[in-house]
């Protein structure tokens, strides 16, 4: 059995990794820690909406792809180290794009048996607006998905 665990460095993803490691150890399965490089966009402006397009562009800082890649590599290295401590066979995979699409597509294409993903404890209202990566992965995936809070 081979499972994918989606990691993004959040506390929820740490819990998903921990759960996936326990499961993998108990089921003698192997894991792939997958991180999708999806550069963050930061808004450095104030709370008021921008007056015009120029101000809007000044306010946004897009993380460079190479920074995002380095962050992904570091997260995967940490996951590999954690798995080593737990005695679980693991490898890493860096994907590119929206994790809601890349994680299930990768897991399906590579014939994995399931996916583990963390879920943020967003408020109802917050989540209705934003949706969540976990929900998106559940909706898109044809494989079993375990959502860990």
């Amino acid at each position: 059995m081979r499972f994918v665990v989606a990691i993004d460095g959040s506390a929820e993803s740490d819990r998903a990794l921990k759960h996936a490691l326990e499961m993998a150890r108990a089921a003698d399965a192997s894991l792939t820690a997958a991180h999708s490089v999806d550069p963050d966009v930061y808004d450095v402006g104030g709370t008021e909406p921008p007056d015009d397009q120029a101000e809007f562009e000044d306010r946004l800082i897009v993380e460079s792809v190479s920074d995002a890649e380095r962050r992904g590599d570091r997260l995967i290295d940490e996951a590999v180290e954690q798995a080593g401590d737990a005695g679980v066979d693991i490898d890493g995979e860096l994907l590119y794009g929206d994790p809601v699409e890349t994680i299930p597509d990768f897991a399906t294409a590579e014939g994995y048996d399931g996916v583990f993903v963390g879920h943020r404890g967003l408020s109802d209202e917050h989540e209705r607006v934003l949706g969540s990566v976990a929900k998106g992965i559940v909706e898109r995936s044809s494989l079993p998905v375990t959502v860990v809070r």
Binding site: H19, E22, M23, A26, A27, G114, H119, D124, E127, S132, A134, K135, V138, E139, R140, S141, S142, L143, P144, V145, T146, V147, V148, R149
Partner: protein, 155 residues
């Protein structure tokens, strides 16, 4: 790893696929499978005859969970069957809490087109609000068309 696995059921193909997954996991971890049917009183409404309708839903719940428990036990796995009344997702979370379930398994629709991207609303709410891990399994499209066709189950 897992000791008590909760599988809410409504008798649908998705629930049947979820049960299959539960049996595999419970067999591997020597866990108990809890089959739960929730009579959704809000769906019945206050019309005359509502009491009869609730009773017939309860009967259906007994039948569906008993059938599920039999299927689980036939696979050599411990099973329990429960019917409760209330709002489905709240009742599922309450049951999980009260019985110390460490995993909830639920089915999603295996439909094509737009519907493929819409979870069942109960599954969606449980995924969003459960404290314990929720495992979602997609019902095979052939199974969605013939809920009782167990030959459609893939390994």
């Amino acid at each position: 790893m897992y000791e008590d696995i909760l599988v809410p059921t409504d008798g649908s193909a998705g629930a049947s696929t979820a049960l299959e997954e539960a049996i595999d996991l419970a067999a591997a971890f020597d866990a108990t499978v809890h089959s739960l049917y929730v009579v959704d009183v809000a769906s019945v409404g206050p019309e005359t005859g509502a009491v009869d309708l609730v009773e017939s839903f309860e009967q259906m719940g007994e039948d569906v969970t008993a059938a599920a428990a039999t299927r689980v036990r036939d696979a050599g796995v411990d099973a329990t069957a429960h019917v409760t009344t209330g709002s489905p997702h709240r009742s599922i979370l309450e049951y999980a809490d009260e019985h110390g379930a460490d995993l909830i398994i639920m089915g999603t629709h295996g439909r094509t087109g737009l519907e493929r991207y819409l979870l069942g609303s109960v599954t969606e709410k449980v995924v969003r609000t459960a404290d314990v891990p929720v495992l979602t399994v997609r019902a095979a499209e052939s199974a969605a068309e013939s809920a009782d066709d167990q030959t459609a189950e893939a390994e």
